[in-house]
């Protein structure tokens, strides 16, 4: 099999392959979290890895988010390369103190002595009718914190490739995996591996409007772009990939070309990552704009359980397309 050969895979399998590769390549890497071992991971990402690597390196933890995230920070500080899995972003709030007050600050408050080469993976997002406490998109919150990097793999290649690069990073990296993506199918080159974690990607080229998104709404946004094409509107779709730091150059470059921007963000509108991207466009590309920046965000409501209400609360392709038409005028 050559590395160029394409193999069928899923987002889940790509993540698992990334973890396996990291475990094989570096003895310092271990995976730790709730039900990552015997259960196989809440979303079955680590299924089979316990048998392959044993319970020391595929380490089940009690339901103690603050302790095991903090333990990941301590182990990273002491020279290991832990991957900590938090089941969902909602539970990460129980470890927020450790992420904010330790992971993000140790390097600085130690005057450069204490690196924290830690990767924290967690599931984010809505769409599975799991109601108000399991449907958040809080990655935008995390982008507020200097000292950490925030990634959102939206494609199979990024699911496969971001982890290794993140583990090479000397500072803490948070990886947000949208829950709706795990079953996404496709193909990857057999030799697929590490990818860069700095740049945004143009997922569809266009000239009329820039649709800027990330993570779970990339697919919806690409669907909107297809619909717009039917109307003769040629939309460019930007996948941010790295939410902190943001790749201003790619964002501004696209807006300079299209002169119009719509930002799609599943997170709540107020104080959102979409607001930050919008502000940067205003600061860096104001004179390139032909009209106001539009935002399509999650409705400002704790996520309701019924499907029709949940769907109404999330960015939908028709709403994104309508916002793009509005922007194009």
């Amino acid at each position: 099999m050559t590395s160029a050969e394409m193999v069928k895979t899923t987002y889940r399998e790509a993540m698992r392959a990334a973890i396996r590769e990291a475990m094989q390549r570096d003895d310092r890497v271990f995976l730790m979290g709730e039900d990552v071992g015997r259960y196989g991971g809440c979303f079955a990402v680590s299924m089979g890895l316990l048998e392959e690597f044993g319970p020391e390196r595929i380490r089940d933890t009690p339901l103690s988010e603050s302790a095991f995230v903090g333990a990941g920070i301590g182990a990273a500080m002491a020279g290991m390369r832990p991957i900590v899995e938090i089941m969902t972003v909602n539970f990460s709030l129980l470890a927020l103190d450790q992420i904010m007050n330790n992971a993000a600050t140790l390097l600085h408050m130690s005057g450069g002595q204490c690196n924290v080469p830690l990767v924290i993976r967690m599931t984010t997002g809505a769409g599975r009718q799991v109601a108000a406490q399991h449907s958040h998109s809080l990655e935008g919150w995390y982008t507020h914190i200097p000292g950490i990097r925030v990634l959102a793999p939206a494609t199979l290649a990024d699911a496969r490739g971001m982890l290794w690069t993140a583990l090479q990073n000397p500072d803490p990296v948070l990886i947000f995996e949208h829950g709706s993506l795990y079953n996404m199918q496709g193909t990857l080159p057999a030799g697929a591996g590490a990818v860069d974690i700095r740049s945004a990607a143009v997922r569809r080229e266009g000239t009329d409007v820039s649709l800027i998104t990330y993570g779970g709404t990339l697919g919806t946004t690409l669907a909107a772009a297809d619909a717009l094409a039917g109307d003769g509107i040629d939309a460019e779709v930007i996948d941010l990939r790295s939410l902190r730091p943001l790749d201003d150059q790619t964002i501004v470059g696209s807006v300079a070309k299209t002169h119009r921007a719509v930002i799609v963000d599943e997170g709540w509108r107020t104080g959102s990552l979409a607001a930050e991207v919008s502000a940067r466009i205003m600061e860096q590309a104001f004179w390139d704009l032909d009209g106001p920046v539009e935002r399509v965000c999650g409705a400002e409501v704790p996520m309701p359980y019924p499907r029709h209400l949940e769907q109404a609360a999330l960015p939908q392709a028709d709403v994104i397309a309508a916002a793009a038409r509005q922007a194009v005028g």
């Binding site: 271990f30 020391e56 390196r57 933890t61 009690p62 103690s64 603050s66 302790a67 095991f68 995230v69 903090g70 333990a71 990941g72 920070i73 301590g74 182990a75 990273a76 500080m77 002491a78 020279g79 290991m80 832990p82 103190d97 450790q98 007050n101 330790n102 140790l106 390097l107 600085h108 408050m109 130690s110 005057g111 450069g112 002595q113 204490c114 690196n115 200097p146 000292g147 990097r149 990073n169 000397p170 500072d171």
Partner: protein, 331 residues
Amino acid sequence: MSRAAAKAAPPEAAHRRELLRQMLLIRTFEDKCVELYSAGEIRGFVHLYIGEEAVAVGVNEALTADDNVVSTYREHGHALARGIPADAVMGEMLGKTTGCSRGRGGSMHLFDVSRRFYGGNAIVGGGLPLSIGVALADKLRGDQRVTACFFGDGAVAEGEFHECMNLAALWDLPVLFCCENNLYAMGTALERAQAQTDLALRAESYGMAAWPVDGMDVAAVERAARSAVEAIRAGGGPHFLELRTYRFRAHSMYDPELYRDKAEVEEWKKRDPIDLLSAGMRDSGELTDDDFQAMNDDLTREIDTAIAAARKAPAEPVENLTRFVYSPESS
């Protein structure tokens, strides 16, 4: 006894002298910090360890240079006992680049990774999970280190405390938990905050060896710590010491101390760890008033030199404001 004679003293006596010197170093350092704070040269929060010196000094005696220490925001004593030079700690107090954290941390965030001193932590209980991770790293690599984690009685009320006791015992980690029970979480007395005030008993409920220790008696602290560390090194898993101590000063630099009686403070001062040790040494003829004075004078000179050096040391240029937010290779 002259200093030349001190060198020839029997090992026990020399050891006691060293313990006394270290406790006095911490006391002298902090007495000077009070002056510098009053003069406005030290700012921010400063939590004095005065009264608790026997804990840091006694525990550190049981550790080797290769062991790890995770500390709190009341950590001048832990840092100095660990051997971080007074110059580097004082530089940090003054926020200078010569400080042990390059001036970025201040009083509450003293770090020295070369001495495996993983910092002062200003979130109560926040260092406990770090100690679990540092110890886990050693266990995974097969390194034989012990991690000493200091925290106060206040931390025992935090959820993180219980998560960490459970994890340490469950994973059989080589951690020495050093609970400095000074009876007050800032202004809240132990019995006003804890339904069960026997803190060792609570640790014991997680299946680890735990016992109370007279934290004003440096010899008792050292004995307890040595016994615990020995057991940990022998594979006995985490151990917990409830070090019963008392801070003679306010929680932070100044507070009106409305939460405790002056008489209570005076009563505890009768058991000042420095007086306790030095009185015993005087009784056995190991220490004269002149010796004590000479030791004090030496330490005062050492701290004065550290202050002078810190005053002269360069401040971080403002252009470097955002340095150390990310590693150079990360940006």
